[in-house]
Symmetry: C2
Subunit: 212 residues, 2 copies
DNA sequence: GAAGTCATCAACCGATCGGTTGACGCTTAA
DNA sequence: TTAAGCGTCAACCGATCGGTTGATGACTTC
């Protein structure tokens, strides 16, 4: 008899946890050993139960999926993290991969795709949802002109809140000229022509978040 | 023996459908008679199976939850629609209620809350998640200064895409002065001082959507 | 040590934006 | 019918923005 894959499910929605639990525990070669409702809980339980694969949501209270992934990987690198989320923004995908995720699935994936992904992850194989793989490929092909620096993102986040260049300059203790320079760079990188479109594109790509 | 509540589950995520199915069909007084993956399917199945309560997601391909709710209510008004979604934007809530939803729950609701909501809905009782009720109350208390007219929303959606006033004027076949007037009104209604903040606030409140 | 990126600043330009005031016709609600 | 809201437009103003050129120093990377 094959040893079954020990799973930890992490998601802040009880409905989703129940769904995953039901679907996965019915597979003969899988076993759900725990559930967590936020990132902090996931880290704690993963350490205690040492699952083979952690299914990880990204947006959660307390600690988000990326941070939790990093912590789990730091403590026990052989734990495989399979990100399962609604969001397919470039920024989310990249951050998850950088944090050490073994795979990236979208929640609208059909059941079979999910099973396969869990099995692949348990063997350390890297597997992405087709839509996600697409995004990654495109990102690699076109030289990423949209890698904003920290400062640029910081300035853009003030723009999002409706501050003028002058106000941003005061907030950051730099001159207005500096703010303008940053923004011009942002426009070029994002391929837009004004601040409003820049904010819009940044939100779409997940460079900025809607809440705060 | 009490007659059990006949349920139709509508959600584009297989995982969520499985979760709801598992949780609800385990309740002695409930029975899941069908599942739908989009709005169009929901309308079709609801007509055929005549469920007591339809659990309805809002954002779905083909036909969104609001449209599906309207159609189902039009054909068979005694069907109770319980909206179950991730989004709690004012605009979403209002549109759902206007379409005839009997209740509005968020997906992060605990199991018990869900069970109660289904039972309440089956009797035609109106039930909202606490967070949702909060939003509705606040909306009623503060005179809604932010009810944008159709035209204003239209103009704002062009602004979001980064068009200048002149370009918007051309697109809508009106003068630039008109566009400016609309925008000034938008700023006042949303309580902001420039176009970028207006877009940002509109996105937060669900007046504009990120995609398209 | 050269090349590249990043953050910083200055001075200047024309275009655009935000705001005001005032106006007209239309429809809906009070 | 009076009021209110909507959509349309004009003319005008000062402030802001987008863009350019050019420059400096710090820090990596090769």
């Amino acid at each position: 008899m094959k040893k079954s894959i020990r799973l930890l499910i992490t998601d802040d929605h009880p409905v989703v946890r129940a769904g995953l639990e039901g679907m996965l525990s019915r597979q003969p070669d899988m076993e759900v050993v725990g559930e967590a409702g936020d990132g902090a809980e996931a880290v704690e339980i993963a350490e205690r139960l040492q699952p083979d694969v952690v299914l990880m949501d990204l947006r959660m209270p307390e600690m988000d999926g990326v941070a939790a992934t990093q912590k789990i990987k730091a403590v026990r690198p052989e734990t495989q993290i399979l990100v399962l989320t609604t969001y397919d923004s470039d920024a989310d995908i990249l951050r998850a991969v950088e944090a050490g995720a073994t795979g990236y699935l979208l929640k609208d994936a059909p059941r079979e795709e999910l099973y396969e992904a869990v099995r692949a992850a348990s063997q350390g194989k890297v597997l992405f949802a087709p839509a996600v793989a697409d995004k990654l490929m495109r990102r690699i092909r076109e030289p990423r002109r949209d890698t904003l620096s920290h400062r640029e993102i910081e300035v853009l986040s003030f723009v999002r809140r409706g501050l003028s260049n002058k106000e941003i300059a005061r907030s950051l203790h730099v001159s207005e000229a500096t703010v303008k320079t940053h923004l011009i760079h942002v426009f070029k990188k994002l391929g837009v022509e004004d601040r409003t479109a820049a904010v819009s594109v940044a939100l779409e790509r997940g460079i900025l978040q809607l809440n705060r």
